[in-house]
């Protein structure tokens, strides 16, 4: 039947190999195990966000509330740990995940029930979360700290592999199974292609939207918790630089921005590719302006290549 691994989804992995080989020409240390495992650790943050974004994009929607769900989850979890109360510290991570799911449900309400385009609704939710965070902290960096669990998830390792990477891959595997082997996954893609026909086939499309947005919210929240663990604190706007790379990782991974087509395997490649590209460009110590331009050009080139290849097949 349908294979999860398509040529489109393999593309970013080829890109990763090319980046590593080209980078090693200038900087031999790119090939060192230390550098590569560090990239896996950092890629996991973007990867978790992109995992959630993939699910929403497969639906044919988009979630622009990623930055402040991430920040909100980070603030919430560090604040709970910062109270010093052992019970509150213990529930920091679950509470942050519940917060992400709650925002996901609010996102889905606007999209599934009020029928407002997700691009507008989730952007508004993002903006309201920003406001709430500022009200809550008075605009200063929130007080608080990370729990040992959060630090371990972000920076620990098992058998030389970063735990963050393992968490990301485990979640990708679970969700990948859900996407390819369960009715929910089938409904998700069907809605992405044609919501009306799916509804007329007797599928409760609103429930699918609710579950999908909730999963995406939890992925963003987990990303926030782990980033807070990585930095040992939460700070305002910590999620802002992640929005566009998240969407770019999904699209480079071969998932159609129009919905229906794609999967999580490609997203793993997309997140690795973007993380590595960012890292190598900064190692090269190029001027910030040029770095942004090169970043944009390479991403455009990847997408153009995919489009042209499809044009040749059709």
């Amino acid at each position: 039947m349908r294979s999860a691994i398509t040529l489109d989804s393999l593309m970013p992995f080829f890109g990763v190999v090319v980046l590593i080989l080209a980078g090693s020409v200038f900087f031999p240390q790119v090939l060192s195990a230390g550098y590569l495992t560090q990239q896996l650790q950092i890629a996991a943050f973007l990867g978790l966000l992109a995992t959630g974004a993939t699910i929403v994009i497969l639906l044919g929607h988009i979630d622009l509330s990623v930055p402040w769900v991430l920040t909100g989850a980070a603030i919430l979890s560090t604040a709970l740990v910062g109270t010093g109360n052992p019970v509150l510290s213990a529930i920091a991570v679950p509470a942050a995940l519940a917060f992400g799911a709650l925002i996901g449900v609010i996102n889905a309400m606007g999209v599934a029930i009020l029928r407002i385009p997700s691009m507008v609704w989730t952007l508004a939710v993002n903006s309201m979360l920003l406001g709430l965070a500022v009200l809550n902290t008075g605009g200063f960096n929130p007080k608080g700290q990370s729990s040992p669990l959060m630090v371990a998830m972000a920076s620990g390792d098992i058998l030389g592999l970063p735990i963050s990477f393992l968490v990301w891959i485990a979640i990708s595997l679970i969700l990948g199974y859900v996407l390819t082997r369960t009715p929910f996954g089938r409904y998700l893609r069907s809605i992405g292609f044609n919501e009306k026909a799916t509804f007329l086939s007797g599928v409760s499309t609103p429930s699918v939207l609710f579950v999908a947005f909730a999963i995406a919210g939890m992925c963003s929240a987990l990303g926030g918790v782990m980033l807070a663990g990585y930095a040992n604190q939460a700070y305002q706007s910590m999620g802002d630089p992640f929005l566009l790379p998240t969407i770019a990782a999904v699209v480079i991974g071969g998932t159609s921005i129009l919905g229906g087509r794609g999967g999580l395997f490609g997203t793993i490649g997309g997140a690795l590719f973007i993380t590595l590209l960012t890292s190598i460009l900064s190692v090269m110590q190029i001027d910030d302006a040029w770095r942004n331009i090169i970043f944009g050009v390479i991403i455009l080139a990847m997408l153009l290549f995919q489009t042209l290849r499809k044009g040749a097949v059709a």
């Binding site: 009715p183 089938r186 409904y187 292609f193 026909a197 509804f199 086939s201 007797g202 229906g260």
Partner: protein, 505 residues
């Protein structure tokens, strides 16, 4: 008929191949000014490819096109337009988010990058008025129009280009009989003014009414061209399918009036669109819903399937009153309703997904069925003789008739107690229609109650045991047995009381 001028359009030894498929294979074809030339053939016979070549959408693999005896190359639709060749395609080509006015002006001569010129608009409005589209507002968004209204706009758009050759490819498939008559009047007028008309339709009575000459296509080749009347209905069907079809419609069974009632609807109302409709379908019955477009019959079917909010009335399935609030509830095994929607491309199927995935979509939500079990579908697929190159190919690779078979098979897998069908044979070739009629009758014999909305009154007469005709949201006539005649149905659709006996109490 001995015209010494060269034909307006001539095609010499035309072939069109798509990979290994020969959509057209060495076809000679000519169309003269001032004639209506009907092109008949099953789906996949090559009619649409032929039309697309003439419209400049496709280019032939081999062969030559001539206009007025001159060799021409039609590389783009603009080239075709320059020669006065205008096509109205069966797939509607309007931009949904633009208004009627904007759509009419799109591609109008002289528009280009300059100012939009509204000079043709009054003509278009005249055309719309003449074909019963006077209630279509120029400022309305096309997406808000009904399917028949969109077809009327398409027709106006084609005619305002003042074509020398007008192609009508299933142009009237969604229109009701009275509107079709008005369109035909307009087409005849254009013909008498010297326009050549190429007419594709699956409805024989339309061909009978309009055509001067008929060409029959089969498997990418032209079988024969003859003057209308040279061959009768049966002979033409034989030519099209290449084999004898004894009966288009299956035999109706007798004595169903005492069978148990499967679907019983009482006082169904919705806003102002459906008014106090009551009807019942007995085991083994096929009950037809007729009427002009938009008289509430479509909304009624949707309402039964739980698609309308705030609908009043009671629906009982097999004696059990059920509150059907969504398609998910409707398909549950305790109710087991199935609905084949009007537009298979946007409502019935997910074109980008495979045949297999489309087949499974309805069964997936049923806890008592294993959607992955091929046996659920194989029976109906075999019976409907689905032609496909593999179930994992996208459903968009199938012809229209075969796509509709997939929609049917997807719902038949759920073994529905009651099957609701919204014009399931629209734009489908004769052979597929026959297969669909046969399976519907067989399902009815096995105890499925069938409610069939149709715009083709032959179906309402030949296939249905009883037909309810809608007008302005209410049933104005319920006809059965000997009352089922074209005259009675037409009279009822127009709500004129020619036959008091047939009036609903």
């Amino acid at each position: 008929m001995t015209d010494i001028r060269p034909p307006l359009l001539e095609m010499k030894n035309i072939s069109k191949h798509f990979g290994a498929t020969k959509a057209l294979d060495g076809v000679d074809f000519a169309c003269r000014a001032g004639e209506v030339h009907a092109v008949l053939g099953e789906n996949g016979a090559g009619k649409s490819t032929l039309m697309k070549l003439i419209a400049g959408v496709l280019q032939p693999t081999h062969g030559q096109l001539r206009v007025d005896g001159q060799d021409v190359a039609l590389n783009t639709p603009q080239d075709a337009l320059r020669h006065g060749l205008v096509c109205m395609f069966q797939e509607l080509s309007l931009v949904p988010d633009l208004t009627v006015r904007e759509n009419l002006l799109l591609g109008a001569p002289g528009a280009g990058l300059g100012w939009l010129r509204g000079t043709g608009l009054s003509d278009a409005q005249d055309v719309l008025n003449r074909i019963g589209g006077d209630q279509i507002k120029m400022g309305a968004r096309v997406a808000d129009l009904t399917l028949p209204q969109r077809q009327q706009v398409e027709i106006a758009k084609a005619i305002m280009k003042k074509p020398r050759l007008l192609i009508l490819d299933e142009a009237t498939s969604a229109l009701s009989a009275s509107v079709v008559d008005r369109v035909f009047e307009l087409v005849r007028e254009a013909r008498d003014g010297g326009t050549a008309v190429l007419f594709i339709s699956h409805r024989f009575h339309e061909v009978e009414a309009l055509a001067d000459r008929v060409s029959v296509f089969r498997n990418g080749q032209r079988v024969e061209t003859f003057l209308k009347g040279a061959h009768d209905y049966g002979e033409i069907i034989d030519m099209m399918v290449g084999q004898k079809i004894e009966e288009l419609f299956p035999q109706k069974p007798a004595g169903l009036s005492n069978a148990e009632v499967v679907l019983d609807v009482r006082s169904f109302s919705w806003e102002d669109r459906v008014k106090d409709v009551s009807l019942s379908v007995r085991r083994g019955q096929i009950v037809g819903l007729g009427g002009l477009d938009g008289q509430g019959q479509g909304a009624f079917l949707m309402g039964l399937f739980g698609l309308l909010r705030k609908a009043d009335g009671t629906t009982a399935i097999a004696g059990q009153t059920s509150d059907i609030t969504s398609p998910k509830v409707a398909k549950h095994q305790d109710i087991a309703l199935a609905y084949v929607p009007e537009d298979r491309k946007t409502e019935g199927l997910i074109l980008d997904q495979s045949i297999q995935e489309n087949l499974e979509l309805a069964a997936l939500g049923r806890t008592d069925l294993d959607a992955g079990d091929a046996a659920l579908y194989s029976g109906s697929l075999d019976q409907l003789a689905l032609k496909h190159g593999g179930l994992d190919l996208p459903v968009s690779s199938l012809s229209g008739g075969n796509q509709q078979k997939v929609v049917l098979a997807k719902w038949l897998a759920l073994k529905p107690r009651c099957l609701l069908l919204a014009d399931p044979t629209r734009g489908i070739d004769v052979k597929t229609k026959t297969q669909i009629y046969a399976i519907l009758r067989q399902l009815a014999d096995q105890g499925t109650a069938i409610l069939l909305l149709s715009t083709d009154y032959e179906e309402l007469i030949q296939l249905c045991d009883e037909t309810h005709v809608f007008f302005d949201g209410a049933i104005v006539a319920s006809l059965k047995g000997a009352e089922l005649t074209p005259q009675n149905i037409i009279a009822a659709t127009l709500n004129v009381a020619t036959n008091e006996a047939a009036r609903h109490a």
